[in-house]
Symmetry: C3
Subunit: 340 residues, 3 copies
Amino acid sequence: MPVRLLNPAVEVADTLLRGVGQVMFQNNPITGLLFLVGIFINSYKYGLTALLGLVVATLAAYLLGADRTLIRNGLFGFNGVLLGITLSVFLEWDWHVAVYIILGAIVSTIVMMALAKLFVSWDMAPLTAPFVLTAWLLLFALYQFGHLHPTKLIHPMLVHPGAVIQTDLQEATGGNGAVGWTATNLANAWFRGVGEVFLQDNVWTGVIFAIAILVNSRISLGFALLGSALGGLTALALGGDGVTIYHGLYGFNAVLTGVALGGLFLVLNWRSTIYALMGAIFSAIVFAAIAVALSPIGMPALTAPFVLTTWVFLLPAAGFRTLRRISVAEVRTPELTRAE
Amino acid sequence: MPVRLLNPAVEVADTLLRGVGQVMFQNNPITGLLFLVGIFINSYKYGLTALLGLVVATLAAYLLGADRTLIRNGLFGFNGVLLGITLSVFLEWDWHVAVYIILGAIVSTIVMMALAKLFVSWDMAPLTAPFVLTAWLLLFALYQFGHLHPTKLIHPMLVHPGAVIQTDLQEATGGNGAVGWTATNLANAWFRGVGEVFLQDNVWTGVIFAIAILVNSRISLGFALLGSALGGLTALALGGDGVTIYHGLYGFNAVLTGVALGGLFLVLNWRSTIYALMGAIFSAIVFAAIAVALSPIGMPALTAPFVLTTWVFLLPAAGFRTLRRISVAEVRTPELTRAE
Amino acid sequence: MPVRLLNPAVEVADTLLRGVGQVMFQNNPITGLLFLVGIFINSYKYGLTALLGLVVATLAAYLLGADRTLIRNGLFGFNGVLLGITLSVFLEWDWHVAVYIILGAIVSTIVMMALAKLFVSWDMAPLTAPFVLTAWLLLFALYQFGHLHPTKLIHPMLVHPGAVIQTDLQEATGGNGAVGWTATNLANAWFRGVGEVFLQDNVWTGVIFAIAILVNSRISLGFALLGSALGGLTALALGGDGVTIYHGLYGFNAVLTGVALGGLFLVLNWRSTIYALMGAIFSAIVFAAIAVALSPIGMPALTAPFVLTTWVFLLPAAGFRTLRRISVAEVRTPELTRAE
């Protein structure tokens, strides 16, 4: 929990860094700082757009008069971080994109509060839904606007029931890298899965993110790594595209689902552990499903699979005797919750 | 209402059979048994996958610690039944499909409890939405997974505003069967509409299902048959595809909507009867609408039209003086409700 | 507020005219009458189908037993008005369309009450969502029904990331009209944006609508005109299609969003004014986004962008100290609210 700090500049920095940390539910400025380091190591551009989204979204919450404690805990920053990175990943850079990020970051703060109010009677968190909804609307629109240019990551496709999928784990089809279950390939899939939570397709960024989580919670790190592994393995078992798996795209939603259900929103015990891991597995399938649903317009699933799976797995908790929910207002690290 | 039975094995069988009966809101083990007979008569494979989904979904509810009375009433079985059949209808059989059914059945139980908690303040039932959502996610994903192979029923299509639709009622275009409003064709459309509630495209299965409903409630049977007739006739009147109508695909959502609104969730009187029949008619149009929305990815509407129409028609009841809702917890047969 | 009138025929006319006025939240029979004049000036057909939808939707509310005060305020008429016009704009005229409008108008009243009950704990209005949902379902279905024929406004398209968009403001590509930021072109975009709220692509209709709003509220007119201007300018700034902008299609959702957020559901002050105008800007982007999402099946966005944006911007109000919501039951003109 953040305390009142003497120096206002430090307080602002602390708030912003917690905002970065909250992307993975880590209310810890050091974790946030290390996340930023991981992003900048991969790409200065993504680092700067993450900061732009973060600052604008947090400032909007302040100017609109949101609850100060929520702002201080970084709860109005994380959607802006993801939004800033996402728009710069899927749009060619241009000053229009900067304006777009600023507008989107403001709207993400409004959507955050809207969902918080919408869910209040179920005691459910908006998770990264504000980012997903805002980013989807802004990205869908790009086909109608001549001043916005999509990057090559946007490619609409018609599905074909008989299409062949190459299932060998590898960096790129026809590339020089090793093919199949090599240690390198598996390590890449595993840590890129952590990196892709922030859309960073970089194994070392993933390693830094893992260290960043460790600073705040061993249990969260455990579920993050288990999630990434299970997401990738689920896709491998079902015959998913090997290049997609290598780059961690089946992992990142499972990372977030694992962390959210693993001792954070549910009291940790062996049954809730199995439940959390089943959620991580299911989120990898939901990722494939949402990717298919969006394929005619070529749009990315983002973290929607995590949001959908986690809501579905948290809502029933009061109805299942084996599970116990932790109230949104009382979420801390899994370690602190267990110590009570 | 199920009572405590002396023999645990009988109690388990009773629970499971009620789960089958609940697909059409019939909390009656004999009805459930006859439904199973109807399915097995059409196809052993579908019968066995129905049982697999049923057992796993019910067992998951038990292991997660759901309310025993709800389990005993079969409320955690029916989504599993439909999910098991659906995945074996739209996927080529393979051990991956068995794993997929097991995973899906577990998730259907989680979604069932999630929606029950979500709707509690409106006193609304999840209906078959847990089945629809889970099946959609699992089916959408198949395009991304090389080890899952769709059957020929999955065929993505681009819509064309000027496309010609053949509106003659017949078994198959260019087949040898009679064409048009013959007694045989109409009887097929009518009873296959009942059979298709469980995805069984078989006129005799439809007849057995009708008998099964009659065992529990004459009124429900009346609305099921009226629903199937109105669904098919609506499509005929608007110029729907004659082969689709023959195979009962415009009927099954109208069957379910008719049964749900006909004395089950609404107190029966002549106004609510008209209201229920209007719901049945509208559900046939919603079926066409959802089929179109899903056509670019070639996915089936399942019972989503029924779910959507019934929610929309039940929610306003407290606001319309002519209608009176029956609380979800007090739903019985229409006959028992009237007798009060 | 309507009062009890001596003559029942006058009372019915008053009720129906308020229903037309409520399309833009103007609970005033003179405004409603002028709206009708504007529609008939553009097209007798649209005027008559608007009346058909209006009468059927209002009558359905009466027969189902909805609250009389709500009916008297026109709250069960406006969705019918829009539905009637929309079906006659997107479907070739035929008696099937008349039946379709009657069925749709009845359903729009049911959906209106359903959403009112659904939103009661958030004190949120259904806005034009009943119209949007009902019209979408009825329009999507047309591809499956041979007796319904779409007009040329329905044209499914596959998106292409690199497609060139012509951004010059003009009446028609390759037409004789002036090209670019001429006073005529800008005036057309501006007032057609107001006209398109009722799907009337006519600059004079837009002018009459503006006068109609002025009769009831200067503030609403101000936000309507600001909304239309901002919607069009947002599209111009981002490089939207110049012909689409000329015909007011980027304006109408921004008009409605501006009116709803501008002193009507939020207490007017300078911060809520900026907030409302930001909503108007965002709704223009949401319009593009929803148009893209629906492009594979060629369906129109209707007023969904307004509904979505306004819900998202109203829900957080209690969480932002700078904003103050006006309860749905206490909505009047912005002028009357300020005078308190």
